[in-house]
C-alpha cells in the first residue's frame, strides 16, 4: 500500500508521541510504587511521617526525571529527523 501525504512529518510526530508515551510507563510505575510504599510505611509508623515525606519527594523527583530523558531524546530525534 502506497502512503500518501507527508510521511516524513507524520513519522516524526509518531516518534515524538511513541517515545514519550513508552518512556512514561516505567516512571509511572515507579512513582506509584514510591507513593504506595510511603503510605504503607506511614501506616506502620505514623511518627516518622515527616522524615518519610522528605524521602518520598526526593524519590519521586528522582524517578520522575527518567521520563525527561525519554522526552529529551524524543525532542532531539524530532529535531534532527
Amino acid at each position: 500500500m502506497a502512503l500518501d501525504g507527508n510521511v516524513h512529518d507524520a513519522s516524526r510526530a509518531l516518534e515524538l508521541g511513541l517515545a514519550t508515551g513508552l518512556g512514561a510507563i516505567g516512571p509511572g510505575i515507579g512513582v506509584g510504587f514510591i507513593f504506595g510504599k510511603t503510605i504503607e510505611a506511614v501506616g506502620r509508623q505514623p511518627e516518622l511521617r515527616g522524615q518519610l515525606q522528605g524521602l518520598m519527594w526526593l524519590g519521586f523527583a528522582l524517578t520522575e526525571a527518567i521520563i525527561f530523558y525519554a522526552l529529551g531524546m524524543a525532542f532531539v530525534a524530532y529535531a534532527i529527523a
Binding site: A61, A65, F68, L71
Partner: protein, 284 residues
C-alpha cells in the same frame, strides 16, 4: 472564526527568543527574554525577602514574617541538614537556601502571564506584546549554569576537605579488592576494577545531566502541556474540544503552580546539598 486562524505554535515561545534578543552583545551575552526573566527573578526574590526582613523582625511574628520563617526553617532543617555536615553548614547553607528561593521564585514568576510575547497585538492603536507564560528555568542554559556551580563547588570542596588523592579514591565504593599487583588475584579483578572506575567517573558527570535536565524539562513540559491544552481548539481547528481543553489546562496550571514549582526547587537544592555534603564527608 478568528480564533482558529491564529498561528499557534506552543514550542516557538521557548525557542524563538534566542534569535530575537532585545540587545545584541558580543560573546553570546545577548540580553534576551530569559535574561530579563532572570533579572526579574533576582529582583523579586531579593526585594520581597529584604522588604519583610528589614521591616524589623518581631518577637510575635505576623503573617508575612511567619512565611519567611517557614521558608528559612525548611531550607535549614529539610534541605541543608539532610545533606550537609556540620562544618559545611557555614559556607553552603546560604548557597542551597539561595538556590531554593531563587529557583522557586523563577518557577513561580514563570506562571504569571507577562507581556513578553514574540507576537504583537494592536490595542487601541498601540502595538502591545502578547501576554504569555514563560519560565527562565524552561531553558537549558539557565539550569545548566546553576548545575555547573554545584558541580564545581562539589569537587572543589571535596578536594579542599580531603585532599585530591583521598577524595578521588572515595569515588570508588568501599570493600573492593586492592588494585596493587601483589594483592591481585586474577586479571578479571583488574578488569572489573577498571569498569567500576569508569562507571563511577561517568556517574559524576551524569549528575550534571540529571540535575539540569530534571528542572529544565519539568518546567518546559509543564508549560507546553498547559499551552497545548489551552490552545487545543486552535491546534485541532474545532471549538468542540474547548470544554475538555480549558478545564484540563487550568487544572494542570494549578498543579504546576502549587506543587511542581516548589518541588523542583526543593529537589534541586536538596540534591545540591547532598552532593556537596557527600564530597565533604565521602564516607558518610
Amino acid at each position: 472564526m478568528t480564533l482558529l486562524k491564529v498561528d499557534f505554535n506552543p514550542v516557538s515561545d521557548f525557542t524563538d527568543f534566542v534569535h530575537n534578543p532585545y540587545v545584541n552583545l558580543p560573546l553570546g551575552l545577548d540580553i534576551n527574554k530569559a535574561v530579563v526573566y532572570l533579572w526579574l527573578t533576582a529582583a523579586v526574590a531579593m526585594g520581597v525577602t529584604l522588604f519583610i526582613v528589614r521591616r524589623g523582625l518581631k518577637l510575635r511574628p505576623d503573617g508575612k514574617q511567619t512565611a519567611v520563617e517557614v521558608v528559612y526553617d525548611m531550607c535549614e532543617n529539610q534541605i541543608a541538614r539532610g545533606g550537609l555536615p556540620e562544618e559545611g553548614m557555614r559556607i553552603w547553607f546560604p548557597y542551597v537556601a539561595t538556590l531554593f528561593v531563587f529557583i522557586w521564585s523563577m518557577n513561580l514568576i514563570g506562571f504569571i502571564p507577562l507581556p513578553f510575547g514574540e507576537r504583537h497585538v494592536d490595542v487601541f492603536g498601540l502595538s502591545v506584546p502578547e501576554f504569555q507564560i514563560y519560565a527562565a528555568s524552561a531553558n537549558l542554559s539557565v539550569t545548566l549554569a546553576l548545575t555547573l556551580v554545584t558541580f564545581f563547588a562539589t569537587h572543589i570542596e571535596g578536594i579542599r576537605y580531603n585532599g585530591p588523592v583521598k577524595y578521588f579514591k572515595s569515588w570508588m565504593p568501599s570493600g573492593l579488592p586492592s588494585p596493587r599487583p601483589w594483592g591481585l588475584k586474577s586479571p578479571a579483578v583488574l578488569v572489573l576494577l577498571v569498569l567500576i572506575a569508569v562507571i563511577e567517573v561517568l556517574s559524576q558527570f551524569v549528575r550534571i545531566v540529571s540535575l539540569s535536565f530534571r528542572l529544565f524539562f519539568n518546567m518546559l513540559a509543564g508549560h507546553l502541556v498547559i499551552a497545548v491544552f489551552l490552545g487545543l481548539a486552535s491546534l485541532l481547528g474545532t471549538y468542540f474540544i474547548l470544554p475538555i481543553g480549558i478545564p484540563m489546562g487550568v487544572a494542570l496550571y494549578l498543579l504546576e503552580c502549587t506543587l511542581i514549582a516548589g518541588l523542583q526547587a526543593f529537589i534541586f537544592a536538596t540534591l545540591s546539598a547532598i552532593y556537596i555534603g557527600g564530597a565533604i564527608h565521602p564516607d558518610h
